[in-house]
Amino acid sequence: MIDLGPHAVYIVWAYLGVAVAIAALIGFKLVESRRLSARLAALETAGADRSATHP
């Protein structure tokens, strides 16, 4: 690893904080997307919409 000089702590914390926040953001978005896809699939197989319009 390269030498970051006397202020290495701040640089490391900056990158660490951004990395953690972005990872959390990506994780949250993916989990939310999965959850809603599953819910939608469950509702559609239950025939919540089709049976009313297409018998």
């Binding site: 390269i2 970051l4 000089g5 006397p6 202020h7 290495a8 701040y10 640089i11 914390w13 900056a14 990158y15 904080g17 951004v18 926040a21 972005i22 953001l25 990506i26 978005k29 993916l30 939310e32 997307s33 809603l36 896809s37 819910r39 939608l40 509702l43 559609e44 239950a46 919540a48 919409d49 009313a52």
Partner: protein, 253 residues
Amino acid sequence: MNVENTSKQSWWTRIAHPGQFVAWSRRLLVPLWIATAALFVLGLWLAFFASPEDYQMGDTVRIMYVHVPTAWLSQFVYGVMSVSAIGTLVWRHPMADVSMKAAAPLGATFTALALYTGALWGRPTWGTFWEWDGRMTSTLVLLLIYFGIVALWRAFDDQLRAARIVAVFTLVGAVNIPIIKFSVDWWATLHQPASVFRLDGPTMPGSILTPLFVMVFAFTALFLTLHLIGMHTEVRRRRVMSLERRLAQRGAA
């Protein structure tokens, strides 16, 4: 009635119809992820191994490679929201609503990150985590506006009605942001005549600019990817809500 007209219409429905939009834009996700990852790898390599330390700031210049992109996104995302707000109000475009709603939390996150990295950059450079200087203060006000917009979205039960109202507020905020920027700058110079350290564009050498631009593109690609995912999620959420409502109605009947 001619061919051109129908092809234009189908182009319009492909963007405007939520189901069709999800269907064709899903194929964009994988390329977007790859582009984001590649840009980040390149940008981080340039930032840490291929760029020298600044003669004035030393190694703390490396914080700029995450600070400037997040600060740029904090304003770019508001621009995306404003354009979507116009789409909602003028054309009543359904995907504009969805785009507006998906962008707000992302914008808040990037603005918070811009403040966080700015504070960590300010500590070794200015000797303090927080300085009430013009740029940091107006970014803080922008964060407050983002929080207000997210809170407004969450306050409505009916998301279709919420969209137009949030659009009005977003545009009022967009008109206000330059005024806030100007007034905060005036206020900061009034109370603090000593000039703070400035990083002006033309004085930066190319060795710093190259990684900076790559990181800006990387973060923008990340935003576009997450924004698209957020839009898909929002479309599904609306569909789930309408299906559940229909189910409940049938149960009641």
